[in-house]
Symmetry: C3
Subunit: 275 residues, 3 copies
């Protein structure tokens, strides 16, 4: 049987020993675990960036993978520590919106103002528990490092075969933020920049199916782009293409679109049809 996979996504950075400490706790319980770092460079306390990173990567892991996410400004407060099994994947994290995008991908919708938090009912296929059984925790429990004391050991016990039901009390809704959805007004598709990657490429929430028909013109950061390119080397300096996540992406050939357009997460992107 292949070793169980546990991924880690945090805002801890890699200069301190926080991540190493979590790995020590995991390996003390599940010595065969295959631990994979998704990223530890989520900006401090940026729950939305954490939600984006996890939702982008988790579908590429094999069934049975356990994803630990620790972006936890409310550590030690009343926010719940949770584990959520979706059928093929298990998430272990604080209940603070980190699963909003994963939830959104299932079709669940949180109403209200974009990025506002609300309690959201879970899909029937998801099984969530409020982690309350301290038998599965590292002792003594701190009030400031639940990554070490709750999330890492719970993930390791899950990897070792302990059932999620034993770890706490079932809950049927999660805290989630309203993920902004593309809209269409008079034939113009309007979306938002979700993420700026290392290269300065702007990832948006506009899927191919959200775009108008015909010859497209893309407006972002005060600039207009004519048509979609196939690759980063195709077209002019400033280009738009369908990125690897299946959504519209804005890039600068061998350059940094975020800097060139002075645009970042939240910026609006308009797509019109010229034909």
């Amino acid at each position: 049987m292949p070793p169980p996979i546990i991924t880690l996504t945090t805002d801890f950075g890699t200069a301190d020993s926080f991540v190493g400490t979590m790995k020590g706790v995991i390996l003390s319980i599940a010595p065969d675990a295959q631990i994979v770092d998704l990223t530890h460079d989520i900006p401090p306390q940026d729950v939305q960036a954490g939600a984006f990173a996890v939702a982008s990567a988790y579908p590429y892991f094999p069934a049975g993978t356990i994803h630990v996410i620790v972006v936890d400004p409310g550590v030690g407060t009343q926010r719940l520590p949770i584990a959520v099994a979706t059928g093929s994947t298990t998430f272990v994290c604080p209940d603070n919106g980190l699963l909003s995008r994963a939830l959104d991908q299932t079709g669940a919708r949180v109403g209200g103002v974009p990025f506002a938090m609300a309690r959201t009912a879970l899909p029937d296929t998801w099984h969530a528990v409020h982690l309350t059984n301290a038998d599965y925790w590292h002792q003594p429990l701190s009030t400031t490092f639940h990554g070490r004391d709750i999330f890492a050991p719970v993930a390791a016990h899950l990897a070792s075969g302990s059932p999620i039901e034993s770890m706490g009390v079932r809950i049927t809704n999660l805290v989630a933020f309203a993920v902004p959805q593309p809209t269409s007004v008079s034939g113009t598709s309007i979306g938002q920049v979700l993420h700026v990657d290392r290269f300065g490429n702007l990832t948006t929430n506009l899927r191919s199916s959200d775009l108008p028909q015909g010859q497209l013109e893309i407006h972002v950061g005060g600039k207009a782009i004519a048509g979609l390119s196939e690759t980063y080397q195709d077209g002019g300096d400033l280009i738009a293409l369908i990125g690897s996540g299946g959504t519209l992406e804005i890039a600068v050939r061998n350059g940094d679109a975020s800097r060139a357009l002075d645009s970042t997460v939240g910026a609006e992107v308009h797509v019109i049809s010229r034909s």
Copy 2:
């Protein structure tokens, strides 16, 4: 049997291939090793930061773990390459003070001026060797990369079951620096900032048992903080709490205490009782 764990702590950064090279050497000797990065972002040649990182993390790893530490400004000089077995843990590193804090945690005390280096007798339970047996090294031996040529292969041979006794000559003292200890003057507890983490939180050396009784007032960086908080969200903007390592920590809610107080490693922290 679970795979042997080897952790790596260096000042090599992650942009060069130094760390990858060490892993190649380890896996060539111990192909089943589970290699864990503690951190490679120790500031260049900062032995004290290396000592802090390892002492913070190693107690959370399972018995038998081997910790390789390479912060080695004196590489190729007369400083000794060593391996030190404590009973449950083995360290492999240069003898330049990197084990000072791990040693301090055992109750061993280095006299003299804080951070001054001195030879320090080992606890009876520690078994240390000066690594002299070149059969366990990577050849040819360089004068500038003992991480690759001595420390990585020695750790891998230890992980594969070779006894520490075979690797060199026993020594009974180490180079260590005097770890600053909290003091108490007229009811005021005086400690030092040991570390600034990614969030700008200031970790001190004041344990709960070092603090006065009653209603506390904490003075640091020219500011006063009334009382201890339970969590990072509790109290005012500038807070003090007992951190995950069991010592007093100074934080700014959703902010950076190091920047707010213009304070860093070595800054004094005074705690007085108002009642």
Copy 3:
């Protein structure tokens, strides 16, 4: 049998989830793989830096290791995705010069202007294929992330025992850049800086055998250095020594030679004999 080793070298950084996604794809196919990060901090689209990193590290890995390299400005264009088996090592990468230094180490020479690209015949012992068999790819194939869709899954299938022959069409030459070679003019050895490491040390291409006999004087960045040191602590502030890769290296004791000399990759280094 030990787990197959797959190393990853990219310019993806570690803040995004690109690398984590590639690991998910690999572990979905080869769940026992031991994945090792060489570095993900290659400067964006810097093929030469990628070629240097891989050539420096790969000889230290055990036979059978598979090295995935993704520095791929031409992703989705006509540049070929390739796999190259050298007998002991397999590389999986775009055909854009990334193997130039590994190739140079075999004695193959690319003519022409340094760093200019040319098609170069492979050594007889190397077996290269243009990856054309989509059965081994992740579907749907994107035009912008072949790290996820081609290179990671091909490496995982190779690690699982699928033969390289089945993955595409054999090719007999690669795109490579002309690696600058040291020269000797009137007894002066002339080399180039190949790399600046984390400490600011300048690695050159001058091997011991390239240097003149007698008492040496090294000229770089407008400064002269008398003689070779043995270690970083030996000699004056600015020193020259034979580094861990076997070539001349310029360093500043406990400092940063690149900054002190205002010199970086490409700078010329002259070595003369004073005796």
